[in-house]
């Protein structure tokens, strides 16, 4: 492997990694903290992408479209939590899995009805749609660099909020003591709803950023969902540090696996990674919350 191929692949791996982190972070918020396995989390990713593509067509301005898509997805998340998911907080995982599986089917079909089966075309404005030289001889797509930057930024911001603020503590305290945290003066429902819609918004952000790279199509959420799940589990449920480390690890392993390993092992490298890590540490890399 040449140095330049190595560097380009590393960038690809990192970019895929932060993308996974954006999705996994929201999933961790909802799953690790509120104890809700929301498989429909991938649907927010899809919704974010569709909204972004639709808005971009009207507005034309990239960042405005991203922002609007993120806010709207967060809003849809809040709505969904209220309407459909509230009763499932206290249900066993299995019920949550099935109910949200049902939601996936619903959202996929709904987007298909609204936007049709044709993938949406997202053409980026101006410089974003090009590639720039990163080091001698390699030019790299600007949009992928943007994803990398946004992902790292969001990760930092999240870390600060979760680790250092009182809101962060409440979020971490989460479901473990819902009733009594409430009796101590915290509006737990509100905190949860907010956390849920922030999680949805993060997935929406991932979707909006992915839209220019990937086909915006119904069902796009499921393929990333599994990887996001793997990230959450490898990292240790409820751990943001873990999710970030695992996301980067998974991103790199998958990218390099496909380049270097024979096809079968390239396909299953991430699953092997998870099996290996869990048989070594059954609670994931960073089991403690935080």
């Amino acid at each position: 492997m040449t140095i330049s191929l190595f560097i380009e692949q590393t960038l690809n791996g990192l970019q895929f990694g932060v993308m996974l982190f954006l999705i996994a972070a929201g999933f961790t918020l909802v799953f690790g903290i509120m104890n809700l396995v929301n498989l429909a989390h991938g649907s927010f990713y899809m919704i974010g992408a569709y909204l972004f593509a639709t808005i971009l067509q009207r507005v034309g301005a990239f960042w405005v479209s991203v922002l609007l898509a993120v806010i709207l997805t967060g809003f849809i998340g809040a709505l969904l939590e209220r309407v459909a998911l509230k009763p499932f907080y206290r249900r066993p995982y299995l019920d949550q899995v099935l109910a949200t599986l049902g939601l996936i089917l619903f959202f996929n079909e709904l987007t298909r009805i609204i936007w049709g089966p044709q993938p949406l075309n997202v053409t980026l404005p101006g410089a974003l749609n090009s590639s720039i030289p990163v080091i001698a001889g390699i030019s790299y797509p600007v949009i992928r660099l943007v994803i990398l930057a946004v992902g790292v930024l969001v990760a930092l911001l999240l870390y600060l909020i979760i680790a250092k603020t009182r809101t962060g503590m409440l979020v971490r305290a989460g479901a473990s003591n819902r009733t009594f945290i409430g009796a101590l003066g915290i509006n737990v429902n509100f905190v949860f709803s907010c956390a849920f819609s922030v999680g949805a918004a993060l997935a929406g952000l991932a979707g909006a950023l992915a839209a220019p790279i990937l086909a915006v199509e119904a069902g796009m959420g499921e393929s990333v969902l599994i990887f996001a799940l793997i990230v959450v589990v490898i990292g240790g449920i409820g751990s943001f540090r873990g999710a970030f480390a695992a996301a980067i690890l998974v991103g790199l392993i998958d990218t390099f696996g496909r380049l270097l390993l024979p096809p079968l092992f390239g396909d299953i490298s991430v699953y092997l990674l998870m099996a290996a890590i869990l048989s070594w540490r059954p609670q994931g890399l960073f089991p403690a919350n935080g």
């Binding site: 003591n177 009594f180 009796a183 101590l184 003066g185 403690a288 919350n289």
Partner: protein
């Protein structure tokens, strides 16, 4: 400051409270006594809105609070040390304290650390890593840090070593002197009769006796019959 009239509630289809009435004046220390499973904890939970009342009135400082969400009731000034401690296992000791702290008031972090130096030693530990007794200290401190007008202690000395238990009684004594209103549920009747102003004996979801410490001591047959002492 707190008045409860004919409170009824229960879990699902099973009725537990059948018309509890009690009141607490400012600065008073009041207890609820009774054998296991008579509805003391259920009364507390109903006061705080954790369990919904099915009938009756509750007012706190003249404001009706029945049916409000627990967090709203708490914010009106009720601090709970719940039965079974209920501390947050995945937050550190200090985070447990800070997360729900509310001012202004006399209780700040340094003050509870003065009260329980052990917690200060353990302040970077996760809640789950504390011993049973340490968790109990944490639960008390956490309630104090909400600077409540009414403090409710539900079996707050359970599982504590004698020395610490003594410390807690001393602390409650101190709070009482400062004018703190307190509702206590505990098994140590001897200690309670010395510290509390008035007592309610609960049996099968009803108040079957109320009176002062002196009255309680004057009628040992009461304790024998209703408390199993």
């Amino acid at each position: 400051m707190l008045s409860v009239e004919n409170l009824e509630s229960g879990y699902g289809s099973s009725r537990v409270l059948f018309g509890i009435s009690l009141s607490i004046q400012s600065g008073e220390v009041v207890t609820m006594l009774g054998r296991n499973g008579m509805g003391k904890t259920t009364t507390v939970h109903t006061l705080l809105g954790i369990v919904q009342p099915t009938a009756g009135h509750i007012s706190f400082h003249g404001q009706p609070i029945a049916g409000l969400q627990p967090y709203r009731i708490c914010r009106l000034g009720i601090g709970l040390v719940p039965e079974g401690r209920q501390i947050t296992p995945n937050l550190t000791v200090e985070e447990n304290l800070v997360a729900t702290a509310r001012g202004p008031g006399p209780w700040v972090l340094s003050e509870v650390y003065r009260l329980f130096p052990r917690l200060k030693e353990r302040r970077r530990f996760m809640g789950a890593q504390l011993s049973g007794g340490e968790q109990q200290m944490l639960a008390i401190s956490r309630a104090l840090l909400t600077n409540p007008r009414l403090l409710i202690l539900d079996e707050a000395t359970e599982g504590l070593a004698p020395l610490i238990r003594e410390e807690i009684w001393r602390c409650i004594w101190e709070l009482k002197k400062r004018g703190q209103s307190i509702l206590i549920i505990d098994k140590n009747i001897d200690a309670l009769t010395q510290i509390a102003d008035r007592h309610y004996i609960i049996e099968k979801g009803r108040v079957i006796w109320q009176g002062s410490s002196a009255q309680l001591q004057a009628h040992p047959e009461l304790s024998q019959r209703h408390l199993g002492v």
